[in-house]
Structures are given as structure tokens and as C-alpha cells.
């Protein structure tokens, strides 16, 4: 089972080169998935992932524990880089192109072997695509980053209650999406 608890390295205790290495192995796939889901292009997602790890590595000696764990900072950096990329490209951040790009990528074979799972994921994909960009982004950050509400607030630069409210509303809108109850 995936939990929101992380290793000591991701909690920022004695964050040296070895801790960074551990964080890399633990978070690499998540950061990449988050960037890919935001940007919709594998090349851009790889750039953002590399930039995020490089910036965190350069800043590892002056990490401010009050601003979050290394994992939170990593996803904050990745989010900023991805938003900068979106702004630079002047593309709609989470609109259909990204989702379409994702849709063109085959679903994960191991988990989607059963037809029911595939149907459900297609519904989730469609419901996510129908969400407002801000709602979609907070859900992606929450699930890919596996962040607690407090960490989510730190990554977004808002209060914890605000983050919880936004997350709860995003889930509610996902619930209210007509695609959520679509017949598969």
C-alpha cells in the first residue's frame, strides 16, 4: 500500500549526497509522471524532471526545513518549472492536447490487464480532462507527489486549510462530472 510517509531522506534529515541519491530513486518516477501529466509531452517532462533534480541538488546545502521536506521542495521546483514551461509555450496547460498525448500512450499493461480497470481509467482520464486546470493540477500534485495536505499547502504556497478546501472541492467536482457516471 502506498502511504504518504517517506524515508528519512525525503523528510530532510541529514540531506547529503547519499540522501539525495535515495530521494532520486524514490521520487524519480513520481516527478516524471507529474510533469508528464502536466505537460503532456515526454521530452518536456524529462526536461522538467532533470531541472527539478538539478536545482534541488544545487540547493541541498541550504534547504530550509521550515519550507518543507526535500520531497516537497522537489515537487515545488518541478511544479514551478512545469508552469514556466507552460507559460513559455503559451499552451493550454492541462487541456485536451496534453490529455490526448497521454491517451495516445498505451496504458500500463501490468495494472490494466483487466477490462474493468481499463474502463475505469478511461473514465478517470476523461473526468480529469473535463476538470478546470487548477482543480486538475492540485489532484495531480496530490496523487503523483503523494503529499499530505500540509505538504500540498507548502508546495502551492498557500495555507493548509486553503489547500484542503481546494483539494476537497476538486474531488467534489470530479465527483460531479457527468463522465464519472458514464456508462463504460
Amino acid at each position: 500500500m502506498i502511504t504518504l510517509r517517506s524515508s528519512p531522506a525525503t523528510r530532510g534529515e541529514h540531506f547529503d549526497e547519499a540522501s539525495f541519491d535515495a530521494l532520486f530513486h524514490e521520487c524519480f518516477a513520481d516527478v516524471h509522471s507529474y510533469a508528464l501529466s502536466l505537460l503532456g509531452e515526454r521530452a518536456a517532462a524529462e526536461d522538467v524532471t532533470a531541472v527539478a533534480f538539478e536545482r534541488l541538488f544545487r540547493a541541498r546545502r541550504r534547504l530550509d526545513a521550515t519550507r518543507g521536506t526535500p520531497r516537497v521542495l522537489l515537487f515545488t521546483i518541478a511544479r514551478n518549472a512545469a508552469l514556466d514551461e507552460l507559460r513559455r509555450r503559451r499552451r493550454q496547460p492541462l487541456a485536451s492536447p496534453a490529455v490526448e498525448t497521454l491517451a495516445s500512450i498505451p496504458a500500463v499493461a501490468s495494472a490494466a490487464s483487466e477490462a474493468e480497470d481499463l474502463e475505469r481509467r478511461e473514465s478517470v482520464r476523461a473526468a480529469l480532462a473535463a476538470l478546470a486546470p487548477r482543480d486538475r493540477e492540485i489532484l495531480l500534485l496530490k496523487f503523483h507527489g503523494q503529499l499530505t495536505n500540509a505538504e500540498l499547502a507548502q508546495a502551492l504556497g498557500i495555507s493548509e486549510s486553503n489547500a484542503g478546501t481546494r483539494l476537497s472541492r476538486a474531488l467534489g467536482r470530479l465527483r460531479g462530472s457527468p463522465l464519472a457516471e458514464e456508462v463504460a
Binding site: 549526497e17 524529462e46 524532471t49 474502463e119 475505469r120 483539494l167
Partner: protein
């Protein structure tokens, strides 16, 4: 037909319960559905490319290898602390970092001032005896209205230039002093326009011990004679209980003014220097024109006398020539007077004797050291106060600008989600 259940479809999940549900701490169907949703969202994206992962892993290894942490650390603890200063500053809270930045700027400015200040002071010292008296005293009190007796024209003309300078600025005084030359009367004063003639005067206040006033006055008199001048007037008052003083008026060649003032600084510590100059070019030109006119009249009278044929005419011209001779003599005297005013300078020297003379020639004493140290500390405190007055608003403005810039950048980033 199958309905896909999404979390919150039946019940609203509170924000606080989301984390518990995702962690499996909440039993029931809602938690299971929420975890399934998370798994589905995570499964929407394919795994990263293995080649990219390997490449990035190699780059991470390169970063670690090239990291300064692998380089030998400096042995000196001070250097080590300096090297980690940016990291330690960055660990401060944002307000602390700003305060640290302002503090660092203050320290840097203070160091620059302390380094540059003495250099500037030492470069402006004059004389051998001024090493501890002239430039190192930042608060020299200037005597009020001490100076030369103004010539008669001085009160009538507003063009008088007054330069009051402390001992530290004496080189400037020296540069302007003694520049006027009377014969020919073309001034080369550094502060005057070319071909202008200036009358220069100065007053110098010296301080010495009460017992040393007489000796200092004798030295000043000898110096005046030595420099080609003389003592116009003097008075010396000595008191056994202290408070002796002497006043002297020296007349010296203007060309020697700077050298004389410098030499006075070697006799006793200079407390203040006051220099005045007055443009007398028009006076000189007027006197010269009057003399030229008188001489022209005289030449005309002589020509008329040579051509005179009657005794009455000859007598009349003779009387006119006699009167003209007297007028020319007066005009020559006036011209000489104006030239003399430019060629010589008056220096009013005041020697004050105190019971504990500041900067007497007895060398460094504990009391004098304490006094000088107090003055230096006072000056440093004043400089710090001025720096604070200037830097605190600047620091606050910089902090506000940085905060605004941060907010603006964040707003622009977030706008990418609105487009």
C-alpha cells in the same frame, strides 16, 4: 451498464479525512475508492523512459562527484565559516535573511570606510608634527571671525571669497595660497581666473602648552623673517596658572604663504586655518590707468612746453607740470600699494596655551590617546548613524521590491493554469 464510483459520490469527504483515507487509516468503502482513484491517476502516465532514467542517474553521479563537498575543506575555521556563510544565511527565515543581508552590507560599508578613511586622512596630513594632530582630529573647532584685518576695500566689495578649512584640508589651502605675485601683478591663484589679481590673507590658530606659548611665538617670528616677511604686530600674554596666549600679525610674500602655513604646523599643532582672498584686479587696473593717463598728460605738457613761445605760456605750463608731477607721484604710490597688497599676505597667528595642550610636542601620552580614541569612536558612531539612516530605508525598499517581485512571478506562473 456499469457505474464507475468516484469518491465523494455519496458522501462528502472532508479535507482532513483525505490523508487518512489515502493512508489506509480510514476503514470503509470511501477510503478504498479514494486509493483506487489515486492508483488510477498514477497509472494514467506511462513509466519513464529507462534510457532517460539511466542518463539522469549518471548526471546525478557526476554532480555528486563534482560537488565541492568532495574537495578538501579549508583548514582555517574562519575560512570554513566564511565558505558556508551563504548556506547558513539561506537557512535563516526570510526576514532573517533580509536582516542578515542588511547587516552584511553595513559591515562591508563600515570596513570600506574604515579602510579608506585613514588613507585619505593620511594623504592630507601636512608637516612632520601633524601626524597625530591635524588629520586625526575630526572635530576641530573653527575660531569665529579670526583672520586678517580686512583692507578698506574689503568691506565695500561683496566679492570676498572665504575658505574656512580644517587642518585636514590644508593642502587645498596651500594650493590657493601664495599665488598672487605683484610684479608683474598677474595672479596664478588656483581658484582665481587667469590674469586676475588677488589679495590673500589667512589666520592660523595654534595650540600648545601654556609654558610653550612664548617659545612658539619666538619661533613664529623667526619663521616670518626666514620667509622674507616680518612681524607687523604681536602680543604675548603669559600666565603662570595657565591660559597663556599670543597673537601675531605676519606680513610675508604671497608666494611663501603656503610654505609658511605648513611651517606653522611644525611649530605647534594647528587647531584651525582660515583663509580669505579678495579680487583686486579692478583696483590695480584703475590705478594703472590713472598713472598712464597722468603720464600721457605729462608728455603732452612737455610737448606744449617745448612749443611755447611766450613767457606767460611757459610759466603756466610749468605750474601744470608741477601739479601733474605730484599727481603722477600719488598715482604711482597707489599702484605700488595695490601691487604690494597682492605681493604680500597677512597671516594672523593665534597661539593658545592650555594646561593640558592637545598635541603638544611631548609625544603620545595616555590622556591624549584616550582623547583621540574617544574622537575616533565618536566619528565612527556618527558614520554608522548616517549609514543606518541611509541604508535602513534602502533595505526596506529592497525587501519590499523583492517581495513584490516574488508575488508577481508567482502570479505569472499561476496564470499559466488560467490560460
Amino acid at each position: 451498464m456499469k457505474v464507475i464510483r468516484f469518491p465523494g459520490a455519496d458522501t462528502d469527504i472532508a479535507a482532513a479525512a483525505i490523508d487518512a483515507a489515502l493512508n489506509g487509516e480510514t476503514p470503509g468503502a470511501e477510503g478504498i475508492v479514494l486509493r483506487e482513484l489515486r492508483a488510477d491517476v498514477r497509472a494514467l502516465t506511462p513509466p519513464p523512459d529507462e534510457a532517460f532514467e539511466r542518463d539522469l542517474q549518471l548526471r546525478v553521479a557526476e554532480w555528486s562527484h563534482a560537488s565541492p563537498s568532495h574537495a578538501p575543506r579549508p583548514r582555517l575555521p574562519g575560512l570554513h565559516r566564511l565558505g558556508t556563510l551563504p548556506a547558513r544565511l539561506a537557512k535563516l527565515p526570510r526576514g532573517g535573511a533580509a536582516a542578515g543581508g542588511v547587516g552584511a552590507a553595513l559591515v562591508a560599508l563600515l570596513l570600506v570606510l574604515l579602510t579608506v578613511g585613514p588613507l585619505r586622512s593620511s594623504s592630507t596630513e601636512f608637516g612632520a608634527s601633524s601626524a597625530s594632530n591635524s588629520a586625526k582630529s575630526p572635530h576641530i573647532s573653527l575660531p569665529a571671525a579670526e583672520g586678517i584685518q580686512p583692507p578698506s576695500e574689503q568691506s565695500k566689495r561683496p566679492a570676498t571669497k572665504r575658505n574656512e578649512q580644517q587642518a585636514a584640508n590644508l593642502p587645498d589651502v596651500l594650493a590657493t595660497g601664495g599665488a598672487a605675485s605683484a610684479n608683474p601683478p598677474a595672479s596664478s591663484n588656483a581658484t582665481a581666473a587667469p590674469n586676475r589679481l588677488q589679495q590673500i590673507g589667512a589666520s592660523v590658530a595654534l595650540t600648545t602648552s601654556s609654558a610653550g606659548v612664548q617659545g612658539a611665538a619666538d619661533d613664529v617670528a623667526r619663521l616670518a623673517v626666514q620667509d622674507g616677511g616680518y612681524v607687523e604686530s604681536s602680543h604675548v600674554q603669559t600666565r603662570s596658572a595657565g591660559g597663556s596666549e599670543a597673537g601675531m600679525t605676519l606680513s610675508i610674500p604671497s608666494a611663501k604663504l603656503s610654505a609658511t602655513i605648513a611651517a606653522l604646523g611644525r611649530i605647534a599643532p594647528v587647531r584651525a586655518v582660515n583663509q580669505e582672498s579678495q579680487d583686486i584686479t579692478s583696483s590695480y587696473d584703475g590705478a594703472r590707468r590713472q598713472l598712464a593717463d597722468g603720464e600721457a598728460v605729462r608728455r603732452a605738457l612737455l610737448r606744449a612746453l617745448a612749443a611755447a613761445t611766450t613767457q606767460g605760456r611757459i610759466d603756466s605750463l610749468g605750474e601744470q607740470l608741477a601739479g601733474d608731477r605730484a599727481a603722477i607721484s600719488r598715482e604711482r604710490e597707489a599702484l605700488r600699494s595695490v601691487s604690494h597688497r597682492a605681493a604680500t599676505s597677512q597671516i594672523e597667528v593665534t597661539i593658545t596655551g592650555t594646561a593640558a595642550a592637545v598635541g603638544s610636542r611631548k609625544g603620545l601620552t595616555l590622556a591624549r590617546g584616550v582623547h583621540d580614541a574617544g574622537e575616533v569612536l565618536e566619528a565612527v558612531a556618527a558614520v554608522l548613524l548616517i549609514m543606518l539612516a541611509a541604508l535602513v530605508p534602502l533595505g526596506l525598499a529592497a525587501f519590499a521590491i523583492a517581495a513584490l517581485n516574488r508575488a508577481w512571478r508567482r502570479r505569472r506562473r499561476e496564470a499559466a493554469l488560467d490560460s
